[in-house]
C-alpha cells in the first residue's frame, strides 16, 4: 500500500509540473499573439485557439493535482475546531461522497462527448482554426481519469494518517 501511495504521489506531482508548463506556454502564446498582431499586423486564428486549449488543459488537470496538494478552498467556520481525526474523516467522507460520484459521472458522459467529435472529424468552424476538436474534448475524460487517481490517492493518504493517529493514540 505504501508503495502505491508513493508511486501515485510522484505521478500526480509529475502531472502537476506538466500543468505549470502548460501555464507558461499559454502566457507565452497569448503574449506572442498580441505582439504579432500589434507589430506585424498578423493574426492567426489557430494560435488564438491554441491559447484556450492550453488554458483549459492546465486547469482541468490542475484540479486533481490541487486536490492532492490540499489546495482547494473550504469554509472552515467549524472545521478548524474539529479534532484531527474528525477532520480526516470529513475529508475521507467528502472525497468519497462528493468528489467521487461527480467525477465518475463526468467521465461516463464525456467519453461519448469526446468520441462524437472524433467520429465526425470535427474541427474549428473558423477560418484557419485548429482541426481535431476531439483532442480538446478528450481533456474532459482524461482529466477525469486523472482526478479519479487523485481521489484514490487522497483516500489512501487519509487512511494512512488515520492509522498513524491510532497507533499514536495507542502508544500514549
Amino acid at each position: 500500500m505504501l508503495l502505491i501511495h508513493s508511486l501515485l504521489r510522484r505521478f500526480i506531482d509529475l502531472v502537476g509540473s506538466l500543468c505549470s508548463l502548460l501555464l507558461i506556454l499559454m502566457i507565452i502564446n497569448v503574449f506572442y499573439d498580441v505582439l504579432m498582431r500589434y507589430m506585424f499586423n498578423d493574426v492567426s486564428i489557430a494560435l488564438q485557439e491554441l491559447e484556450w486549449h492550453l488554458f483549459a488543459a492546465m486547469f482541468m488537470f490542475g484540479i486533481g493535482y490541487t486536490l492532492k496538494e490540499d489546495g482547494h478552498v473550504r469554509v472552515d467556520l467549524f472545521y478548524d475546531n474539529f479534532a484531527k481525526k474528525k477532520q480526516l474523516l470529513i475529508n475521507m467522507f467528502g472525497t468519497i461522497v462528493f468528489a467521487l460520484p461527480i467525477t465518475a459521472i463526468i467521465l461516463y458522459f464525456s467519453i461519448d462527448y469526446a468520441f462524437e467529435a472524433y467520429e465526425m472529424g470535427e474541427g474549428s468552424p473558423d477560418p484557419g482554426g485548429l482541426p481535431h476538436r476531439w483532442i480538446i474534448r478528450s481533456v474532459i475524460p482524461a482529466s477525469s481519469v486523472f482526478l479519479l487517481l487523485c481521489i484514490f490517492y487522497v483516500v489512501l493518504d487519509n487512511l494512512k494518517s488515520l492509522l498513524e493517529l491510532k497507533t499514536e493514540g495507542a502508544e500514549s
Partner: protein, 336 residues
C-alpha cells in the same frame, strides 16, 4: 393513429439567450402555435442559452436526444460537417425569397434531409433575418488595399473569403467586442443588421456601416430529433411541421419590420453613421475569392458539389425572374 390521447412534453434548446428579440420570438411563436393547434397534446418548453449554457451545443443535444428540438443556424455546424454550411446563406447567394423557393420547390429541403439524415436529425427552415449588413468599419474601404491587414471579427465562411484577400479574421469574445472595436484592437466587425445591431452600440464607435454581401438571406434552423418525431402521432407531426414553417415566415416579416424601423432610427438619431457599399472593384475581388473557395469545396466533397451545383443552377434561374420583377420594378420607380 391520429389521437392516441397521450400528452407529449418536448423541450427545445436554442442558441440565443432568453428574451433575445426576433430569433427568440420565433421559437416562442412556434411553441404557442403547436400548443394551440394540438389542444395542448404537444407542448414545447424552450430553454435559452442561459439554461443549457452551450449556445453551440444545440446540434449535439438534438442528435443525442437530450432535447427533442433545437433552434440555431445550420452554418454553425460547418466544423462538424462542411455540407451543413450551405443551408443558411452563401455570400453572393440567393435572396430570401429565392432561397425559400429553392428550399420548398427547388430541391433544397431534399438536399438538407440528405445531409442531416445521417445524424438522425431533421432540419427545417427556422426564420430569416433578410439581408444582413456587411458590418461596422472604423475606416472607409476605398480599395482592395484597405482590406489588406484589416483586422475584422467575421466568423465562419465569410471570414475565410476575406482572408483570401489579405484581411485578418480575428476571434474576440463577444463580451470584449465593443471595447476592442472602440480601441482599434480590431478595425471592423460584422453582427446582423439594423434589427439587432442597434442595441450593441457599434454605431457610436464605428461610423461606416457597410451594406451586405456575405449573408444575403440568413436562414435559421429548427432541428428535430428523428426518433422523437417518429414517435409522434401523424396529426401532431403535421401540426409541428406547419407551426415551424409559419414561425419561420413570421420571423422573416418581423425582421423586415424591425430592420426598417431601426434603420430609420439610426438615420434620424445618429446622422454621423455613413452607410456605404464596397466600391465595385472590391466587390468583384471578393466575389472572385468567394467563387474560388466554393470551387475548392466542390472539388473536395461529392455532396458539397451536388449542393453547390443545385444552388447555383437555381439561383441563375430564379434571378432572371427577380431581375424582371422586383429589380425592374424598383428601378422603374424614381426613389432612393
Amino acid at each position: 393513429n391520429a389521437d392516441d390521447g397521450k400528452k407529449y412534453r418536448w423541450k427545445l434548446a436554442e442558441t440565443w439567450g432568453p428574451n433575445f428579440p426576433i430569433f427568440g420570438d420565433a421559437t416562442k411563436n412556434m411553441a404557442k402555435m403547436v400548443k394551440e393547434m394540438s389542444g395542448g397534446r404537444l407542448t414545447i418548453r424552450i430553454d435559452s442559452s442561459n439554461k443549457h449554457k452551450s449556445a453551440l451545443g444545440i446540434f449535439d443535444f438534438v442528435k443525442n436526444g437530450q432535447y427533442q428540438m433545437g433552434h440555431s443556424a445550420s452554418y454553425y455546424w460547418k466544423g462538424k460537417d462542411i455540407n451543413t454550411l450551405f443551408f443558411t446563406t452563401l455570400p453572393f447567394g440567393m435572396t430570401t425569397s429565392e432561397q425559400y423557393a429553392w428550399f420548398y420547390h427547388g430541391g433544397g429541403m431534399e438536399l438538407m434531409k440528405e445531409v442531416y439524415d445521417q445524424y438522425g436529425v431533421m432540419s427545417f427552415p427556422g426564420g430569416n433575418t433578410g439581408n444582413q449588413m456587411g458590418g461596422w468599419f472604423r475606416k472607409e474601404i476605398n480599395s482592395l488595399d484597405d482590406l489588406k491587414g484589416l483586422k475584422m471579427r467575421i466568423p465562419g465562411f465569410a471570414g475565410e473569403v476575406l482572408a483570401k484577400l489579405g484581411a485578418k479574421p480575428t476571434n474576440i469574445p463577444s463580451g470584449e467586442l465593443y471595447t476592442s472595436l472602440e480601441r482599434n484592437t480590431i478595425d471592423a466587425l460584422e453582427w446582423v443588421g439594423p434589427s439587432l445591431d442597434l442595441r450593441m452600440g457599434f454605431h457610436k464607435i464605428a461610423p461606416y456601416y457597410y451594406t451586405g454581401w456575405h449573408e444575403p438571406a440568413t436562414e435559421l434552423q429548427f432541428m428535430v430529433n428523428q426518433k422523437a418525431y417518429d414517435e409522434l402521432p401523424e396529426d401532431l407531426q403535421a401540426i409541428l411541421t406547419i407551426a415551424m414553417k409559419t414561425a419561420a415566415y413570421d420571423m422573416y416579416t418581423q425582421s423586415t419590420h424591425e430592420s426598417g424601423k431601426n434603420l430609420a432610427t439610426i438615420q434620424q438619431d445618429f446622422p454621423n453613421v455613413k452607410i456605404r457599399t464596397f466600391p465595385a472593384p472590391v466587390m468583384a475581388a471578393i466575389k472572385k475569392a468567394n467563387a474560388e473557395l466554393l470551387e475548392e469545396f466542390a472539388a473536395k466533397d461529392e455532396m458539397s458539389n451536388k449542393i453547390l451545383t443545385s444552388i447555383e443552377n437555381y439561383r441563375k434561374q430564379a434571378r432572371q425572374w427577380t431581375n424582371f420583377s422586383d429589380r425592374a420594378y424598383l428601378d422603374s420607380l424614381d426613389e432612393k
